[in-house]
């Protein structure tokens, strides 16, 4: 007879568990590679917010826009943006290389080789970069 519904505990604080050190991931290169890839998202968000504040100065007037351009020239901003640039490049490269593993395309019986999918990603990257450069430099 089931008089009580079974109850589950999500955590078992009384059970023995080994503590993981916070820096467990520095022991192996693959872990460093993994955590660096995950941390690129912080720089993606950083530049998205930077872009947002730049756009906001366009609503505030020429003085605000000029002040933002002056800030972009400070060593702090240049340093942060140089690091962000390298991290975002790492994001792009790891993203394009990973896509063929997530995306298996078959034409009939034949699987499109992963290198073709990665290759088309890089072609797309060049085309988008060229189009955006052309648009911005036309100003």
């Amino acid at each position: 007879m089931m008089s009580h519904a079974t109850r589950y505990r999500k955590y078992h604080p009384k059970l023995y568990r080994t503590r993981m050190p916070i820096f467990w991931w520095v022991r192996k290169w693959t872990n460093v590679h993994f955590i660096t890839r995950e941390m690129t998202s912080v720089f993606v968000a950083f530049f998205a917010i930077e872009l947002l504040f730049l756009l906001r100065t366009l609503t505030l007037g020429p003085e605000a826009y000029g002040a933002f351009l002056v800030w972009l020239e400070t060593p702090l901003a240049l340093g942060l943006n140089a690091i962000a640039f390298l991290m975002i490049l790492f994001h792009s490269i790891t993203w394009f290389n990973l896509a063929p593993k997530a995306l298996v395309i078959r034409v009939g019986e034949v699987r499109i080789p992963p290198i073709a999918i990665a290759g088309s990603n890089y072609v797309g990257w060049v085309v988008v970069s060229a189009a955006l450069s052309w648009f911005i430099l036309s100003a």
């Binding site: 912080v42 998205a48 947002l52 972009l72 240049l78 962000a84 640039f85 896509a99 990257w125 648009f135």
Partner: protein, 118 residues
């Protein structure tokens, strides 16, 4: 809360994927031009009027909204799991979920507000 989170999981993953792809394609060139090449004087910085005329196109503003908002949502999903796995913070799950997705949603609303004013 638990049920809502579970049912929304594919949606957050779709935003993560779309934001990952769009940011990978567009952010390197934008960052290089706007935040490195222009401040360092390698290319000319557009004047206030020229910059405003660039974002005057509705399509440009729509693109910027998608780019900024999806980039933030990409961060939210990836950073959430980095905090879980990297720092072993599984017990702070609800707080992390609110901080990450909440932050990305507030950022997206603010982006829409700014672009609307342009």
């Amino acid at each position: 809360m638990e049920a809502m989170k579970k049912s929304n999981e594919p949606l957050w993953w779709a935003f993560f994927g779309a934001g990952g792809a769009l940011s990978a394609l567009c952010l390197p060139v934008l960052l290089f031009l706007v935040a490195l090449a222009m401040p360092l004087g390698w290319i000319e910085t557009p004047s206030y009027e020229a910059a405003r005329s660039l974002v005057h196109y509705p399509l440009a503003r729509l693109f910027l909204f998608a780019l900024i908002s999806l980039s933030l949502l990409h961060w939210a999903h990836r950073f959430r799991f980095t905090l879980y796995d990297g720092l072993q913070l599984k017990h702070l799950e609800s707080l992390i979920v609110v901080f990450c997705y909440g932050g990305a949603i507030i950022g997206s609303v603010f982006t829409a507000f700014v672009l609307w004013q342009l």
